[in-house]
C-alpha cells in the first residue's frame, strides 16, 4: 500500500512542532534547546579557551569540537553511559556540519567545545542536536559566516516526507523507509552535511535535497526567533 497518509497525520512537508530556547545552561558561554516534537536536544558551548594538551595547539587555526550523547533514559531500551560507535560518528558529523560556517580560525591556539545531550529521542536526534548547537554557538558569540539548520527527509515507500519520527523510521512497506539527515547554511544554501540510510534513485535524492533546503529555511526562522528572545536565567 502506498504511503499516502502520514502515521501521525502531518502533511508530507510538515515538521513536527518545533521549539527553541536560548540560554538554558547558565554555566556555559552559550546554550540552547531545540526540539522536533518528542525529540529534544540540549547544547552547551564552552570557549574559545586554551587548547590542552599544548602540542595540539595550532597558531594558525582554532579547533571546533563536538560531543553528541544520548542520555541513558532517552530511549525505551536503556543506553549504557559513555561513548559508543554511533555517538562517536554523530559527534564528528555534527562537527563537520557546523564547521563551514564557524570562523574558528579567528581564534588560533584555542578550542570551542560543543556538548550535545539528548534527554528524549523520537528519531532525527542528530538534526535537533545540530540545530541546538548552531543556536548555542550564536549565543556564545562565536563569529559565524552563516547559520546552520538541519532536518531529516524521509522516503516512505516512494513518498518523500519531512522530519522523520521513530514510527516512520521503522516503516517497512513497499520500498521501506529511507532516512536522509541533512544540514544547510542558510544564506548560501550550501549543504554541509548529509547521511543516508535506505535506497533511493538519484532523481528522488535531488528532490529530497530540495525539500530539505526548503524546510531548513523554516527552521532558520524558528532559530532566529529564539535568538531574539534570549532567555537568561535571573541572577
Amino acid at each position: 500500500m502506498a504511503y499516502n497518509k502520514r502515521l501521525d497525520g502531518r502533511k508530507f512537508d510538515e515538521t513536527r512542532k518545533m521549539t527553541a530556547k536560548v540560554g538554558v545552561i547558565p554555566n556555559a558561554d552559550g546554550s540552547a534547546m531545540f526540539s522536533f516534537g518528542d525529540t529534544v536536544a540540549y547544547a552547551a558551548v564552552y570557549g574559545p579557551k586554551q587548547l590542552h594538551p599544548q602540542h595540539m595547539q595550532n597558531p594558525e587555526k582554532g579547533l571546533l569540537r563536538c560531543n553528541y550523547s544520548m542520555l541513558s533514559f532517552s530511549v525505551s531500551d536503556r543506553i549504557r553511559p559513555g561513548p559508543n560507535k554511533r555517538s562517536t560518528e554523530i559527534s564528528k558529523v555534527s562537527e563537520w556540519a557546523l564547521n563551514p560556517s564557524v570562523l574558528i580560525n579567528e581564534f588560533p591556539n584555542t578550542v570551542v567545545d560543543v556538548h550535545i545531550s539528548i534527554p528524549q529521542a523520537d528519531a532525527s536526534t542528530r538534526c535537533a542536536g545540530i540545530n541546538a548547537a548552531a543556536l548555542a554557538l550564536a549565543h556564545a558569540g562565536i563569529p559565524m559566516s552563516d547559520m546552520i539548520a538541519s532536518v531529516s527527509i524521509g522516503k516512505m515507500d516512494t513518498q518523500l516526507v519531512v522530519d522523520v519520527n521513530k514510527a516512520e523510521e521503522d516503516y517497512e512497506e513497499g520500498e521501506g523507509a529511507t532516512d536522509m539527515a541533512m544540514s544547510f547554511m542558510n544564506k548560501s544554501g550550501k549543504l554541509t552535511h548529509i547521511q543516508l540510510d535506505g535506497k533511493i534513485s538519484a532523481k528522488e535524492l535531488a528532490e529530497a535535497i530540495k525539500l530539505g533546503r526548503q524546510t531548513c529555511k523554516k527552521i532558520y526562522e524558528v532559530q532566529k526567533k529564539a535568538l531574539k528572545e534570549i532567555r537568561e536565567e535571573k541572577n
Partner: protein, 277 residues
C-alpha cells in the same frame, strides 16, 4: 578555569562566623527548589530538579534481570551518575572519576537503606527473574550541591514512575505500553542532608564557591519516624570532627528535617500531579 581563590574562601568563612552568606541566605537556608517530572517519555519515570542555578536530570529505567545470589527474592537497584562537561567547565569526558562514582553511591545508599523501595515486590520468580531499577543521574548545570539535587531528583523520578508492561509468555517488556501500576514504594521516603563545614561553622546547600571553600561535609539520609531515624551516613574529606561538633551537626539537621521533608514531599507530589494532567 579559575578556581575559587583563598581570598574568597577566607571571606566566605569570615561571613559565616557572623551567620552571613554572600547571597544573604541563612546557614540552614536552601536556594529555591524547582521540581518537574516527565523529562523523558521514554523513561519509566524522570525528573528535572533545580536548586538555585544547579540543575540535575534523573531518569528511572526498568528491566528484567537475574537477582543477586544473596537476595534471590528481591529486585535490583543500580544508580549511576555522570558529571557532564556540559554542566561545568571543570568536567571532562572519560571514565567516571571519584566525584561521579561517589555521587551515585551516596544516592544508592540513601535510597537502599531507607527501604523506600519494597524490593520483595519486584521479584517475579524467586532466584530467576526480578525487576531491576536503574536510576541515571546527569548534571546539567553545576553550581554546587549536586548531591541534594540528585537525591531529590531520584525520589521524584521513582514516585512518578510507572511499571512497564511485561509479557511473561513472550518474556518481553513492552516499554511503549506502560501499566497504571506505580513502583512499590513505602512511606520511608528518605531525605538527604549534606552538612558542610568551614572552619567552625556549618551550613546547608553550598553554591560552587562555598563548596570549594568547605573543609568537609557530613552526608546523611533520614527517614520519617518518631523521632526520625538516620539511615545512611558518610563523612567526606579529611575533616576532623570533635564529639561536640558532631552532635551540633546532628542537631542542625534535626532542626531542619521536618520543614524540609514537608517542602520536598509537597514539591514532588505537585510535580507528579502536574505531569499527569
Amino acid at each position: 578555569m579559575i578556581k575559587t581563590s583563598n581570598l574568597t574562601k577566607n571571606r566566605i568563612a569570615e561571613y559565616l562566623v557572623h551567620g552571613k552568606r554572600f547571597d544573604n541566605r541563612k546557614a540552614d537556608e536552601f536556594r529555591d527548589i524547582v521540581i518537574e517530572c516527565g523529562l523523558s517519555k521514554k523513561a519509566e519515570g524522570s525528573a528535572r530538579v533545580k536548586i538555585g542555578k544547579t540543575e540535575v536530570w534523573v531518569g528511572v529505567k526498568m528491566e528484567i534481570a537475574e537477582p543477586y545470589p544473596d537476595s534471590p527474592d528481591k529486585g535490583n537497584l543500580m544508580v549511576t551518575a555522570e558529571l557532564l562537561p556540559m554542566s561545568n567547565a571543570k568536567y571532562e569526558y572519560g571514565p567516571p572519576k571519584f566525584e561521579a562514582i561517589e555521587l551515585g553511591r551516596l544516592v544508592d545508599r540513601g535510597i537502599r537503606e531507607s527501604k523506600y523501595i519494597d524490593f520483595e515486590k519486584l521479584c517475579i520468580k524467586e532466584g530467576e527473574k526480578v525487576w531491576g531499577i536503574m536510576i541515571d543521574i546527569y548534571s546539567i548545570n553545576d553550581d554546587g550541591n549536586l548531591l541534594d539535587a540528585a537525591f531529590i531528583g531520584a525520589l521524584a523520578a521513582l514516585k512518578e514512575a510507572k511499571m512497564p508492561f511485561y509479557d511473561e509468555k513472550e518474556e518481553k517488556i513492552y516499554y511503549e505500553k506502560p501499566t497504571k501500576e506505580k513502583l512499590p514504594l513505602t512511606d520511608n521516603m528518605p531525605i538527604n542532608f549534606s552538612v558542610h563545614q568551614i572552619e567552625d561553622t556549618i551550613f546547608f546547600d553550598p553554591n560552587t564557591e562555598e563548596e570549594a571553600a568547605a573543609e568537609g561535609r557530613l552526608i546523611l539520609a533520614m527517614i520519617p519516624g518518631n523521632p526520625p531515624k538516620i539511615c545512611s551516613m558518610q563523612k567526606g574529606n579529611t575533616l576532623q570532627v570533635s564529639h561536640e561538633k558532631f552532635v551540633e551537626m546532628l542537631e542542625f539537621v534535626d532542626k531542619k528535617y521536618k520543614t524540609f521533608y514537608s517542602q520536598i514531599n509537597k514539591l514532588i507530589d505537585e510535580a507528579v500531579k502536574k505531569k499527569k494532567e
